[in-house]
Amino acid sequence: MSRPAFSPEGLTLGVCLVALGVLWTLSNLGRVEMLPVLRTWWPLSLALWGVLELAELLIRRSSGRS
């Protein structure tokens, strides 16, 4: 059994942490208001995870055929 190309949940968590860190920094610099941005965009983390899960599934199937 081949190892998956990447881990969707690990990638999601990583992207979310990067986004949160950047946003927090921008908030500290006074460039953005953190709460409204977070409130608007946080559901994208779920969407991102879902996309990555689908991508992993497709990669696994294609590698299984070859």
Binding site: T12, L13, L38, W42, S45, W49
Partner: protein, 500 residues
């Protein structure tokens, strides 16, 4: 799904929920504006007061319609001179120095708007508060012609209305007092005590989290109270819904309808019908001019001096009745029934409790489980008596002059009949223990049927009145004498003016 995925899902949803919650409560985190604190909807700290007045002349011959909107401050409306609305705004600014407070107060405007006889009173505090973080109270004192219809919306401030034509008040977080209103009154109060007195028309009142006092209402009143006590004196027909409080009414000129829950109900001097129900508390009624229907779950029912009939149903508590002129129907599940002076008989069903009827006329039908029955008619029996006691005894006093056909049965006890003139025509059971008796008294008459698992006893008694005194009638409840303003003559056509 792996534990790792489940953990991430919970993490993301948890973070999302935290963000949404933070968004909902944003702005409510601070303790108070700069320089002061807000506790219980009031500002505390150093403050300075400033006043401003304005007035608006009204078209001649038209009744004014006054609409007031305010927040964080009281509103007082009283009857004033005809033809003009006078407003005094008292601004209290919570800032450390008078200079700062005065500079801020100068920006708070008293606004009178509206067309014709409609006058809208308010301030620009919403516009200022949007960008500032300063404690500000705006108190409005308004004089308006007595014929005015008054509409008030206020938050965090006491509302008082006296001597106008009608009042519609919506208030939150403070008390409301409405007095001497000629017409209808409508009050919606959130947190705070409410007092309505001297209402010439109808009253519609809703209150949450506060006590309510209602008095001298000429028309019908509908009152809803939660988490507070309600006291009503001298009202028209009264329709009440009350939860988690106590209700006390005195002098209702029409029907009384009360839907209660977790509320003790007491009413006296009700001119007409009383229909009351509650739970986990009792019902006490006195001097009711019409029929009574009382239902209490886990609460006792007591009624005295009722001119009409009575239906009482209770669980886990008893029924106590005195001087009921009409027919009685009482049901007590896990409770006893005691009644005195019943004018038109009674139908009683009880369990796990005794039944005692002392002084009655009219047909009697009693069914008891796990309890005994004691009947003392006092007056000669003139209507059917049917009694059944499972796991209990039956005792019947037989007044002189009674005439009846007896059918008595004691299933496991003793049957004794100590009544002069009673002839028994049939006995059954073991020798010395008469289990069934059929007989006649004074040649027979109405049917008396007594059945019990325990002893059945009949005892002769001298006759007398069924009650020491007749049922008292509700005392006269006159309409409120001083409800409403004195009509004032419209002034000559005034000039429309506003000064500030």
């Amino acid at each position: 799904m792996s534990a790792r995925k489940i953990g991430l899902l919970i993490l993301l949803l948890g973070v999302g929920a935290a963000i949404e919650t933070a968004w909902q409560v944003r702005g409510d985190w601070r303790i108070g504006p700069e320089g002061c604190r807000v506790i219980g909807g009031r500002f505390y700290g150093p403050s300075y007061a400033f006043e401003r007045t304005a007035e608006r002349a009204l078209p001649a011959g038209e009744a004014a319609r006054l609409e007031v909107k305010n927040a964080f401050g009281g509103v007082s409306v009283t009857a004033g001179a005809p033809g003009v609305v006078k407003v005094k705004l008292r601004k209290i600014v919570f800032l450390p120095t008078e200079e700062k407070a005065r500079a801020f107060a100068d920006r708070v405007e008293l606004r009178l708007s509206g067309e014709g006889a409609t006058v809208r009173v308010g301030t620009n505090r919403d516009e200022i508060a949007r960008g500032e973080d300063v404690g500000l109270e705006t108190h409005l004192e308004i004089e308006t012609p007595a014929e005015s219809a008054v509409d008030i919306r206020n938050e965090h401030g006491h509302v008082g209305v006296v001597g106008v034509a009608s009042a519609n008040v919506v208030s939150s977080f403070d008390g409301v007092a409405v007095e001497r209103i000629a017409g209808d009154v409508k009050v919606e109060a959130g947190h705070g005590d409410v007092r309505a007195s001297g209402v010439g028309g109808t009253l519609a009142l809703t209150a949450r989290h506060g006590n309510v006092e209602v008095s001298d209402v000429a028309g019908p009143a509908k009152v809803e109270v939660e988490h507070g006590d309600l006291s009503a004196r001298k009202t028209g027909a009264l329709d009440v819904s009350i939860q988690f409080g106590g209700f006390e009414a005195e002098g209702v000129r029409g029907d009384l309808v009360v839907r209660g829950a977790h509320a003790e109900l007491r009413a006296t001097d009700v001119a007409q019908r009383a229909e009351v129900e509650t739970s986990f508390a009792g019902i006490h009624l006195a001097r009711v001019g019409g029929d009574v229907r009382a239902i209490a779950q886990h609460g006792e029912i007591a009624a005295e001096d009722v001119s009409g009939g009575l239906f009482a149903e209770t669980t886990h508590a008893g029924v106590d009745l005195a001087r009921i002129d009409g027919a009685v129907h009482a049901v007590a599940d896990h409770g006893e029934v005691n009644a005195r002076g019943l004018g038109k008989g009674a139908k009683v069903r009880a369990s796990v409790g005794d039944v005692q009827l002392d002084g009655f006329t009219g047909p009697i039908e009693v069914e008891v489980e796990r309890g005994s029955v004691r009947l003392a008619p006092r007056a000669p029996l003139a209507a059917e008596v049917t009694v059944s006691a499972t796991q209990g005894e039956v005792h019947l006093d037989v007044p002189e002059g009674s005439r009846f056909d007896l059918e008595a049965e004691s299933r496991r006890g003793e049957l004794r009949a100590d009544v002069p003139g009673l002839t028994t025509s049939e006995t059954g059971g073991e020798p010395g223990r008469a289990h069934r008796v059929a007989g006649k008294l004074a040649g027979g008459g109405i049917a008396v049927r007594l059945h019990a698992d325990g002893d059945v006893t009949l005892e002769g008694k001298p006759a007398g009145p069924i009650s020491d005194r007749p049922a008292a009638r509700p005392s006269a409840t006159m309409p409120p004498a001083e409800a409403g303003p004195q009509p004032s003559t419209p002034s000559e056509k005034p000039e429309s003016s506003e000064k500030q």
